[in-house]
């Protein structure tokens, strides 16, 4: 009973947290602000966010239980759920006058029926093939798709679960090869469910991996459908699902796909917030964006880089907005405060883990050595060349690289500029990855060979979101304008 209750609590907790960002209108307001087709998009958004946020909260609850020496997981789970429900209610009250209002959906009749059917069919086929591949892969490799699954993530989960009061033993420099400094979202959420089951069932990490994979697809669809209509949503999801590496790595039990989920969640929440900014500045979705970026940092060290990059990119966006007319200016301090309020608790947890539990990481050495490595032209050229190649092959596409197809699509259909702040955040993150390879203490080609493609994949769902947000018909743009939304609301 406990495992079923645990899954339900996990999803309910994630849902409660998501409700803080996107409270649904009720009663008479509901029919005005949630046109029927968008109700499903909204529910999909909430369901997708619930998966990632629920697992994120569960990992923190488990970690705190271990730190405090408590074994009452269900009690703390229920307490966390109740607390988040309270926070959601607080945001609901604060934003009662500015419920999540959605743009007028693009009527399907506005698109050619044959194109709509073709796209829907392509999406159906893509999802079916992805489901088949995921099931086949998981059955063939129930313990994960490679070394990192059990040499890092599931090993840490075993230490957390089996270690009892000695769980810290696993985070020792003696096991530096297992990267004991890596954050614990994935291992702690796995260990949480193992504790509820009472055994280290290998199906748990497999199911969590699959859940993150399809939650990423769902989140991409929902965000695009709400913002640009379902044609763009379907095309975005087809682009993601036809990236073989994404589907394959979604079953590997690595942390890259979960990280890509939180990157996407951050940008999606920021975008949905910005979209209603001019009408009724809400703050719950910014709070959620902060939490999502915090969870990214709690998933993998690259997430810390992403968080820093997003903060810098947001500052840049604010500076840009200061050039706009006065009524379009973003309330800087409030926005920064809400974003930081979201990520601060998770960041505090990461600082505690890194400072008091984990040994130092292995990438950074003395400043002199790092500087020396950075200015070596041979290293610079090696990373540049490798990045150039991986940009075209990281997705394991068969004939034409997906990046090329998406670039062509953007060239033809990109009628809006790409969201500058979010794009800058992703570019800065990529630049950070580049820098890490320059200073790596490992053999540079070995390091690139075994990780570079996965780093590109982390950014891929967010990149697709930005590209497909930039497209959309003029009718969609009209339906999305503040004026149209005023009419809708």
């Amino acid at each position: 009973m406990e495992p079923v209750l645990g899954v339900a609590l996990c999803l309910a907790t994630g849902f409660a947290l998501a409700m803080a960002g996107f409270p649904i209108a009720t009663g008479s307001a509901r029919s005005a602000s949630l046109p029927e087709p968008h109700l499903w998009d909204y529910l999909l958004l909430m369901a997708s966010l619930s998966v990632g946020f629920g697992l994120g909260v569960f990992s923190i609850v488990f970690f705190l239980n271990r730190v405090l020496g408590s074994k009452h997981f269900l009690v703390t789970d229920v307490s966390a759920f109740a607390a988040l429900l309270g926070i959601a209610a607080l945001f609901r009250r604060r934003t009662s006058e500015s419920v999540f209002s959605l743009p007028t959906p693009l009527s399907f009749k506005a698109s050619s029926p044959w194109f709509l059917r073709l796209t829907a069919l392509a999406l159906f086929v893509s999802i079916s093939v992805a489901i088949y591949c995921v099931i086949a892969q998981t059955r063939a490799h129930p313990h994960g798709g490679g070394w990192d699954a059990f040499a890092i993530w599931n090993l840490h989960a075993r230490f957390l679960f089996r270690g009892g009061p000695h769980w810290r033993d696993g985070f020792t420099p003696l096991l530096s090869w297992s990267h004991p400094d890596y954050p614990l979202l994935l291992p702690a959420s796995i260990a949480h469910f193992w504790s509820l089951l009472g055994t280290a069932d290998p199906r748990v990490p497999a199911v969590i991996a699959i859940a993150f994979t399809f939650a990423t697809v769902g989140l991409l669809f929902a965000t695009l459908a709400i913002s640009r209509g379902r044609i763009s949503a379907m095309m975005g999801c087809i682009a993601l699902l036809t990236t073989p590496a994404f589907v394959e790595q979604g079953t590997w039990q690595y942390a890259d796909v979960p990280l890509s989920f939180f990157f996407l969640a951050t940008i999606a929440c920021l975008h949905l917030n910005d979209g209603r900014l001019l009408q009724s500045p809400g703050s719950g979705s910014l709070f959620l964006a902060g939490i999502a970026s915090g969870f990214a940092a709690w998933t993998k060290n690259e997430g810390v880089l992403f968080l820093a990059a997003m903060i810098v990119a947001r500052q840049w966006a604010f500076i840009q907005s200061s050039r706009r007319p006065a009524q379009q200016k973003v309330p800087f301090s409030r926005h920064s405060a809400m974003f930081l309020a979201g990520c601060a608790p998770v960041l505090a947890l990461i600082i505690y883990f890194k400072h008091w539990i984990a040994p130092p990481g292995d990438l950074f050495s003395s400043p002199d050595v790092m500087l020396l490595r950075m200015v070596q032209p041979a290293r610079l050229w090696a990373v540049t060349k490798w990045f150039g190649k991986d940009l075209l092959r990281f997705g394991d596409w068969l004939l034409v690289p997906g990046t090329v197809l998406v670039a062509i699509y953007y060239g033809i259909c990109g009628r809006r500029g790409i969201n500058g702040g979010a794009a800058l955040g992703l570019v800065l993150t990529l630049a950070g990855y580049f820098f890490i390879y320059l200073i790596t203490p490992y053999d540079i080609y070995w390091h690139l060979r075994f990780s570079s493609a996965r780093l590109f994949l982390q950014l891929w769902p967010s990149t697709l979101l930005l590209v497909f947000l930039s497209s959309g018909s003029r009718q969609q743009e009209a339906g999305n304008s503040p004026t149209a939304r005023e009419q809708t609301a």
């Binding site: 063939a140 313990h143 070394w147 000695h166 769980w167 003696l174």
Partner: protein, 97 residues
């Protein structure tokens, strides 16, 4: 052999050894001479939450020697306590404190 099968088999191989080891702390490890480090990673995965140190210094040392070719220098100070079969043995370091 498939990595998953190796991992699963590794868990099974070390299952009986676990009962003879302390429940927490650090144990040592010796493997076949020239064996890939993956064998050691799998042993650590199977024996967690014990920390398996890749050395013969701790008091209890896990031997993972399916080919029975351990490094002679590594087992010089070790006393065989029990052979669990399938290349899994338990040593005791006579010189350990």
């Amino acid at each position: 052999m498939d990595l998953n099968q190796v991992s699963q088999r590794s868990d099974q191989r070390f299952a009986s050894l676990k009962g003879a080891l302390p429940h927490e702390g650090i144990v040592g490890y010796v493997g076949d001479s020239g064996a890939p480090p993956g064998q050691y990673y799998l042993a650590q995965y199977a024996l967690a939450p014990l920390v398996v140190e890749y050395s013969a210094n701790p008091e209890w040392v896990v031997g993972n020697i399916p080919k029975n070719h351990p490094d002679p220098a590594a087992i010089e100070q070790l006393e065989l306590v029990r052979d669990f079969g399938d290349g899994v043995v338990l040593f005791r370091n006579k010189g350990a404190r």
